[in-house]
Symmetry: C2
Subunit: 476 residues, 2 copies
């Protein structure tokens, strides 16, 4: 979710911080001067700030309260959380990030948690369950109706990132053999339609999906007509087992607002909405940005030092191993470096530019793979293109670094070795930049994760080896 917050949300945040600070100021005074009279006055002022804060929170949308909770350090966060009306706990827990949700749940007792979960729909409860204590889950489960229990079971049975995990159950179902007029009368009896009801789902007795009835079509249809005559019979449907990314593509390309989810027998089991899909896109984007930056997981901005260290552990360890390998490659050529110490100063240039160029190739290939743009022929064609690009780059940038080496050390032979090493390392970067993501894909791994670390490891160690190797052959 890397977008600027709307200015109004940020204004609310500043107001909250302001009230909290005034509240804390009073509390500090209270601590210092415990005279009985003053005490009373200040206690009132202090409570007044909290009352004002509570009022402000009540006016805010759940998403805005979530944003404020995420932006506050733990102490202030819990103070604000206690001021939120208990019947809003559920919706706000849904909105906050996983890391912040943990801190809030840790602060609540079993009764509060059960009450919060009970305010939610089955598909929403399913999103919370992984973070809830076992006891709470059991209590919530027993409090549900048998239909909701079934839905909760269904929603939890699908792995993350499948359509089944993203869908909801808020659909209005109608029969094909009733008149449009009857449907309109039925809708008028409802207090409110579920969010994102742009269409009704036409099912038979056994819940088999027969068609869709867009609300807009309902408006313009003859009231006497039967639903079966005016419904849409051709439409896109999804299965719960399908990859949720398929659904995001379809929503984006075909401009859908909601779509039915059916099982293998054609029975309607749920509904996808554009907002489920948008949340999924933003979360996926967020975790891509985090992993590209070397963070394993979303991190609470105010997480403890120890927690942050653990979150960043894995990537640093992997990089340390690749750095050790590169170091040992250099170690092999210590004898050459001792004789021509300029090599030590020049070698990071070869490694660095190789890594940069390899990452450019990887970005292209990973993107093409994700978009499914690889046909039988294109892999070879792309490899040829990337190799040509790297040859041209090698000649251009190789000349530049060769010239740099010459200017610094007044040696044409050193410049030539520098240029050749650059050319060869860019070539290595191009070949591996195409090969690594394709191999990862073939062995069923996500090429977006980790291929950047791998190419950098290859161009580092490879670059040192090529440059120092050439230098040992021709210069020492």
């Amino acid at each position: 979710m890397i977008e600027n917050r709307t200015s109004s949300s940020q204004a609310s945040l500043e107001r909250v911080v302001d009230l909290l600070e005034r509240h804390e100021l009073v509390e500090n005074l209270l601590d210092r001067q415990p005279g009985p009279r003053q005490d009373l006055v200040e206690h009132l002022v202090h409570r007044q700030h909290l009352a004002e804060l509570q009022q402000l929170l009540e006016q805010l949308h759940a998403a805005d309260v979530a944003y404020i909770l995420e932006s506050l350090p733990l102490g202030q966060r819990l103070l604000v959380w206690d001021l939120v009306r208990a019947d809003r706990d559920g919706e706000i827990l849904l909105e906050v990030s996983d890391a912040v949700r943990e801190t809030l749940i840790a602060h609540m007792d079993q009764r509060e948690l059960v009450a919060a979960a009970e305010q939610l729909d089955a598909d929403e409860i399913a999103d919370l369950v992984p973070d809830l204590p076992q006891d709470v889950v059991r209590d919530v489960f027993t409090s549900l109706s048998s239909e909701e229990r079934e839905q909760l079971r269904a929603a939890m049975s699908y792995p993350e990132d499948t359509v089944g995990a993203v869908m909801d159950f808020d659909m209005i179902e109608v029969r094909a053999d009733v008149a449009v007029e009857v449907v309109l009368r039925y809708l008028r009896r409802l207090d409110d339609m579920p969010d994102h009801t742009d269409q009704l789902f036409v099912v038979d007795r056994d819940a088999h999906l027969q068609g869709l009835l867009p609300v807009n079509r309902l408006l313009v249809s003859d009231p006497e007509a039967e639903v079966g005559e005016v419904m849409v019979r051709e439409f896109r449907r999804f299965t719960p087992e399908q990859d949720a990314r398929d659904a995001t593509q379809a929503f984006e390309r075909y401009d859908l607002i909601s779509a039915p989810v059916v099982d293998e027998e054609g029975k309607l089991v749920g509904r996808l909405t554009v907002n489920d899909v948008m949340d999924f896109i933003l979360e996926a984007k967020d975790s891509e940005i985090l992993s590209a930056g070397g963070l394993s997981d979303e991190e609470d901005l105010f997480a403890s030092v120890w927690k942050s260290v653990r979150n960043r552990w894995a990537w640093l360890a992997i990089n340390l191993v690749t750095a050790f390998v590169a170091s040992r490659v250099i170690g092999i050529f210590e004898h050459s470096i001792a004789q021509l110490v300029a090599l030590a100063a020049l070698m990071p240039i070869i490694a660095g530019i190789g890594g940069n160029s390899g990452n450019q190739t990887i970005t292209m290939i990973v993107r093409a793979l994700a978009l499914g743009q690889f046909t039988r022929d294109s892999a070879r064609q792309l490899l040829v293109k990337e190799i040509s690009v790297s040859l041209l780059n090698g000649v251009i940038w190789g000349s530049v670094v060769g010239l740099f080496a010459f200017v610094m050390y007044r040696s044409w032979s050193l410049g030539l070795v520098m240029m050749s090493a650059m050319l060869l390392n860019l070539l290595l970067a191009a070949v591996m930049g195409v090969a690594i993501p394709l191999l990862m894909q073939r062995y069923g791994r996500d090429p977006a994760i980790g291929s950047s670390v791998m190419i950098t490891a290859v161009t580092d160690s490879g670059g040192f080896f090529i440059f120092l190797g050439l230098a040992t052959l021709f210069l020492v």
Copy 2:
């Protein structure tokens, strides 16, 4: 748009490639054996494949045709493009990526381009204009109605990434003083409502927006009631000058489907829909991924080598400069390296882990900035946290690398220098990792772009300087 394509789109792509290949096979035979009889037979077979291909393309959604065009090398792409029915050119040009659109437009004559543009709405034409030749734009402009001309001018007057550039003009307007029944009758007379019409816009004579009338509310309202009684009076509105990212946040958080855009006098000037917003999110995400990978611009998968080299130029040049600086830092200490050559092998470890750790900090801070989570106090608090994390990491990873140095070179003093250098470089990475994005933000630059290059430059040169400097002081 880094998502897996739906399997059905990919199946279509494979079918297209298959037909193209059979077509090419026949063409090759034709070239080789120009006997008159065989010629005729093969010519028919050949035309049959193209006819089949044309039929397939006609059944596909414009977005799917766009995807196929993007996935084909230039020759095949233009062959397919010629087979597409002319009256679909406009919508397909809208769907393809900028880089591919260029190749298609270069292949069309003025008459075709004008015809294609004329099929589109004003806000869609505005998206194409930057890619169209001047003559075509003039012709299209004269062919528009005066209202459409006004809309086109409006849409083009707002900078990219503003609400005005993303909005469309497909809204249904009603008056507050008519009965719901009248509105229903009016809607029934329309052939079709615009996409994403989840609400009508209630305006007065001078186009001032007075309220919103959700379609769902229209369905459940008393037909005798006046629009003014049932309309929603509190709603989120946007201005055309506003940052489009504000709108994406609001759509995501408040689950909107459409929203009004009003000017400073409160007049309705356009409409935002969830799909405009979703396209904007996916494009922004795409360009973030490209720039993180060191590509300046979207690149056609089958772009010419020369074009690709130019697209990758800027980042390689910047990195070359930082690499030269790092090289000169090492140059200062050549004397020390000549005396203790192990330094050359160990120094990339310090620089590499520093860069990695700095990038982790930057990712956290850039994310918090984008989410607007910085309050007056949090900058100091975050700096303290990042410094603590780096100290703890410095002790842990410093010990590991110190031990590595000892095991390799049997020198406790070398190990100690290694450990201290690691600690100091991680500290530098933490301080600069917080400072760089905050400074960029203060000076009005986007901290998401370029801060990763800057931190790596600092931790490279800084790491070499710290390590070699300490070694010079204590070891040489």
